[in-house]
Amino acid sequence: MRVARVHPLWLAYVLHRVSGLALALFLPLHFWVLSLALTQPERLDAFLNFADQPLVKLAEFGLIFLLAVHIFGGLRLMAMEWLPWSAPQKTLAAGALGVAFVISGTFFLQVV
């Protein structure tokens, strides 16, 4: 059976989960690349060069975006859970997304 439940808070939840999951999958890769520094620095350099390509840049932007989304989504959640004000939740959700955009946008502009 189909379930209809699309509304802002639910989307915020999905976004938080997807970003968390993506980060969790990406992180081991990130760690692996960094640990190359010790043993094979030239491969790290090669990787960093590879990372200069536009497509990869875009992917990085996505990653930072996800991180930002996840962080501000998480802060939003903890604010909702622990701080006494709770009414303007949707605004919070939208706000978190906005901040995430600004941060990752800055990153993007800097990088390109």
Partner: protein
């Protein structure tokens, strides 16, 4: 699946990571100006107790945080429970911790490039 203890652990690690991650992003934004190179990165971090603690605590926190997070997702999406779920939680946590530690050591241990 998530009792008060796990919940607090996840929230506390999140709170620890929030400034660390934002700081990390800030550093990257600053660093990428002018292009990255391994030497540049390592030159800044290797041998620095500050960066060791900075990234070390991140690794510790993220291992706990992501393990709990994945545990919840696994349970809700696959119905996994009991020892298998516990084993996977620990596996993810330890795996991340080991890999992360290697990375932190690589980046901050004061050995210099061989």
């Amino acid at each position: 699946m998530l009792d008060l203890r796990l919940y607090m652990l996840q929230r506390i690690t999140a709170l620890i990571m929030a400034p660390l991650t934002l700081g990390h992003i800030a550093v990257i934004i600053y660093a990428v100006q002018g292009g990255l190179s391994a030497a540049e990165i390592l030159g800044r971090t290797q041998g620095s107790v500050f960066w060791f603690l900075f990234y070390g605590s991140f690794v510790l926190a993220v291992a706990v945080h992501a393990a709990i997070g994945l545990r919840v997702i696994l349970h809700e999406w696959t119905g996994m429970t009991g020892t298998r779920l516990a084993a996977l939680t620990w596996g993810v946590g330890l795996g991340l911790f080991v890999m992360g530690s290697k990375a932190v050591i690589a980046v901050t241990w004061p050995v210099g490039l061989p």
